[in-house]
């Protein structure tokens, strides 16, 4: 590694020594001794440039020493050295060129160079060219990041020079990419820039767009006639969609090419400044309560020469007619702007496609959240026909269970693994208790079930508030769920959302398995279809109902843990989901798990779609979604996947 570094240095020296000075660094420092000692951001630039341009290998150490405030000036001769604290108040100085210790000096004989943050930033930029060749990969990577953050034409040459020597494949690719971007912005040669633009025109990176966008920035201009030397984007016609007459006139006013309009406030101020014996311009003040009388009074004042005359429509037209309006590119080269426009157009198209993909992923993720929240309901409401308004509170209890478990088990992965069965157990028990104590007595009384479970819901919410307080409690996801799966700069999806999607699919499978393959599922279906018949076949309907309700509640608890991972755990967590959950089940079709899936999918996609059309306003999105659902139910009152005929229990 060291050998490689030395070889790299040798090559760097070979190509840069042309302007390197024989005497080493110290003469350069001495040449700029005064401004270095003064250490002012405004004047320091020549010194740093000279040091960087020297191409001397020791310049890197020197600059780093300087930035770290370890450079000292010997007061006796004004020479600069690297200082290291020795015994007492003395410092050991080392020569930059030779690397030899020159001696130990008292602090009083020395002056410490303390570059301020502005200067340190400039030193940082100068250091970049050295860091790009640094043996440490981390330093090279940091240098690249610093260039990305703060691109500069001066860095183009050192960057290009460092590409061939880059041993790391990954960094090399980054360097090449960065080189292209810098070429677009800063290369002297137009053809090279155009070539670079074309190279990057299929890249989705935000940095590419950031490099291209400044090239197509336009400025609105006005002149007597169209100039021939400017890079003109468009010529604007006043009164068209692109430029209204009012805007065009404002532009003229801004350039002092026309007299400004007098605003209503201006008229008012002028009138009140010219009240003369209860009259303005001959009009009594009391009559000045309409625009017409004010205009009359103002005209009288203007005639008297007290105030400037109002700008009339004819004035405006004349002024507009005497000028041409156009937009020019800030970038002077037409070839570059044309290439940039074309590249941006291509990128836009690709970005659009990828955004659609991203939106689809978002919608799927939202749909799986709704599905997760609704699947318990699909059992209690869909299969049993029991409307449970406290379903949201079961979700909340699941989330709080996760929170409590994390208080005892600090390891996040383990705590989530423990929390899921715990949440199931807690809400299962709660669901069974509720079924036995309340719901059992209200079968076939859905409206009363609704109200009774609502009573339970408000009691549970308040209890949670009393126990856990009103502030949100954290339920932290394990660290391996942090971060996101990034496809490119446009499409990314966080691991938590993927996990929730997977969880939703697992539940779907579990539900199907329980309903179709287990004894409980068979009994469940039997009891819901004909409880009396099921009873006479030796099934205990009470027990089956209890277990079914418990199962639905337990699944809600697990959903609560999942939802708690990305939402704030508060006592109203559940009520945020309850209406959507019911909507999901109703829209999808009651009594059918595929219905819940279809409903969740539809609501998820719909909500994301509306949000995409009106991104600033999620409230409006929800409003429109609910209205859509109300209208949707008109056409499919039984949901997307409807049971037909006699089975629908008409």
């Amino acid at each position: 590694m060291l050998r490689l570094f030395l070889a790299g240095l040798a090559i760097l020296c070979a190509c840069l020594t042309a302007n390197a000075q024989e005497g080493g660094l110290q003469p350069i420092l001495q040449e700029h001794q005064e401004i270095i000692a003064k250490s002012s951001r405004k004047t320091i630039k020549p010194a740093i440039d000279a040091i960087a341009a020297s191409g001397l290998p020791q310049a890197q150490v020197m600059l780093e020493t300087w930035a770290a405030k370890n450079m000292w000036m010997r007061k006796s001769d004004g020479q600069f050295f690297a200082g290291k604290k020795a015994e007492g108040r003395s410092y050991e100085l080392t020569d930059f060129d030779t690397g030899e210790v020159v001696g130990t000096f008292e602090k009083s004989d020395l002056k410490q160079m303390k570059p301020n943050s502005g200067i340190r930033a400039m030193i940082g930029t100068a250091l970049v060219q050295f860091q790009l060749m640094d043996p440490s990969r981390a330093k090279r990577s940091a240098a690249l990041r610093s260039i990305q953050r703060d691109p500069d034409g001066a860095l183009l040459e050192p960057l290009r020079a460092s590409i061939n020597e880059e041993p790391d494949v990954d960094l090399k690719a980054q360097k090449q990419r960065l080189e292209r971007l810098l070429t677009i912005g800063y290369d002297e040669d137009t053809a090279a820039r155009v070539a670079a633009i074309e190279d990057m025109s299929d890249d989705l990176g935000v940095d590419v767009r950031a490099a291209l966008n400044p090239l197509v920035v336009t400025k609105r201009q006005v002149a007597a006639e169209v100039p021939t030397d400017a890079n003109i984007a468009t010529i604007l016609e006043p009164g068209s969609d692109a430029l209204s007459e009012a805007d065009a006139y404002d532009l003229l006013v801004a350039r002092d090419l026309a007299a400004p309009h007098v605003s209503p406030e201006g008229i008012r101020a002028a009138l009140s400044a010219n009240i003369d014996g209860g009259r303005v311009g001959g009009v009594p003040v009391a009559q000045l309560n309409s625009d017409a009388s004010r205009a009359q009074a103002y005209a009288a004042l203007a005639e008297a020469g007290v105030v400037p005359a109002l700008v009339t429509q004819a004035d405006v037209e004349a002024a507009l007619g005497a000028h041409v309006f156009f937009e020019t590119y800030v970038e002077p080269s037409p070839e570059v702007t044309a290439a940039a426009e074309k590249a941006l157009e291509q990128i836009e198209l690709k970005v659009g496609l990828n955004q659609t993909l991203d939106l689809t992923l978002d919608a799927i993720s939202l749909a799986s959240i709704y599905f997760l929240a609704a699947i318990g309901l699909a059992i209690t409401f869909g299969v049993m026909g029991v409307i449970n308004m406290a379903h949201g509170e079961f979700i909340m209890m699941g989330a709080y269970t996760g929170y409590v478990v994390q208080q005892f088990i600090p390891d996040h992965t383990l705590s989530i693994i423990v929390a899921i069965p715990m949440a199931f157990a807690v809400t299962f028990a709660m669901g069974v208790a509720m079924e036995r104590l309340v719901i059992r007595w209200l079968y076939a009384r859905p409206l009363e079930t609704l109200l009774a479970t609502f009573g339970i819901s408000i009691a549970l919410q308040q209890l949670a508030k009393n126990i856990f307080g009103t502030q949100a409690r954290p339920l932290t996801a394990p660290s391996w769920l942090d971060g996101a799966w990034v496809l490119n700069d446009v499409v990314s999806i966080s691991y938590i959302r993927i996990a929730i999607f997977v969880l939703a699919m697992i539940f779907l499978g579990l539900f199907l398995y329980i309903m179709k393959r287990t004894r409980l599922g068979l009994e469940m279906r039997a009891v819901t279809q004909n409880p009396r018949m099921a009873g006479s076949m030796g099934i205990n309907p009470g027990r089956v109902n209890m277990l079914t309700f418990g199962l639905g509640s337990g699944i809600a608890g697990i959903a609560g843990v999942a939802i708690g991972l990305f939402a704030k755990v508060t006592s109203d967590l559940g009520s945020d989901y309850i209406v959507q959950s019911f909507m999901t089940v109703v829209v999808g079709g009651v009594g059918n798990i595929w219905g819940a899936l279809a409903g969740a999918g539809m609501i998820g996609f719909l909500q994301k779609g509306i949000e995409w059309m009106n991104p600033s306003n999620t409230l409006a999105a929800q409003t429109y979604m609910i209205i859509f659902i109300i209208i949707f139910i008109q056409f499919r009152p039984r949901g997307i996947i409807a049971l037909k005929g006699r089975a629908a229990g008409d």
């Binding site: 037909k644 005929g645 008409d650």
Partner: protein, 246 residues
């Protein structure tokens, strides 16, 4: 005898199951007709179609001398046109008195504004009393109908149907769960009613059908299997095979 109701070529499918299969049926004015058939023969579905509860997939249902199609009409419109229906389970409004039940059924304006301003006229009250006498509930007028016995509720429901003054009465198993005396009374009511209007009785009980002594239609698998007098259809081999033979 002119045709009051004509059902022709009607079919209904529920989830792939053909409940009614190309059924045709006619009934004239002032005719009593019994419809019999094994379970699942489509008797109730047939009534659902006529009263507008179920829409058929194909076929025509034509009503009255003006030959109106019933397929486009709502249940309420069909009822207003003169078709009354009695359900298998007695369905009276149990929270309301016998008088209120009958008043509600009495032929009058059905629009909500008309009903809002409606106050029973002496003539209406008289009619209600007559009906109550006919169905044997004269002394129960102010009682809540929920307190009545099962048979009394059946009669009340028949009384409500008569109060509607329908031209066609569809009656679903009127004799179910009745004592022999109650059955006899029911038979009389139906026969009496059929003198002035068409009555279709769906029934399982052969003895009851025999007592009605009217034309019988046998349904099987959603289609008409046989039609004629009870003796005629009971001697039909097909009918014996599918129904009586078992």
């Amino acid at each position: 005898m002119s045709t009051l109701l004509e059902v022709s070529g009607v079919s209904v499918t529920f989830d792939g199951f053909r409940a009614i299969n190309n059924l045709s049926f006619q009934i004239g004015e002032a005719e009593l007709r019994a419809v019999i058939g094994p379970n699942g023969a489509g008797k109730t579905t047939f009534m659902d179609i006529v009263t507008g509860k179920t829409r058929p997939d194909e076929g025509r249902v034509i009503w009255g001398e003006k030959s109106v199609s019933l397929l486009r009409m709502s249940e309420a419109k069909i009822a207003q046109a003169g078709i009354g229906r009695k359900f298998q389970k007695p369905t009276v409004f149990e929270d309301q008195t016998v008088q209120e039940n009958l008043l509600m059924a009495l032929k009058n304006k059905r629009g909500w504004l008309g009903v809002l301003y409606y106050r029973p006229s002496p003539g209406d009250l008289e009619k209600v009393e007559e009906l109550a006498t006919e169905i044997g509930l004269k002394d129960e007028l102010t009682r809540k109908s929920g307190e009545l016995s099962h048979g009394q509720k059946q009669w009340l429901e028949i009384g409500m149907l008569l109060a509607q003054e329908p031209r066609l009465l569809l009656v679903d198993e009127p004799a179910a769960g009745m004592t022999p005396q109650e059955r006899e009374h029911t038979t009389d009511l139906l026969v009496q009613a059929a003198k002035t209007r068409a009555v279709v009785v769906v029934e399982h009980d052969m003895e009851f059908v025999r007592r009605l002594s009217c034309k019988v239609t046998v349904l099987h698998e959603g289609a008409v299997l046989a039609e004629g007098s009870l003796d005629h259809v009971t001697s039909n081999q097909d009918v014996i095979d599918v129904y009586l033979g078992r």
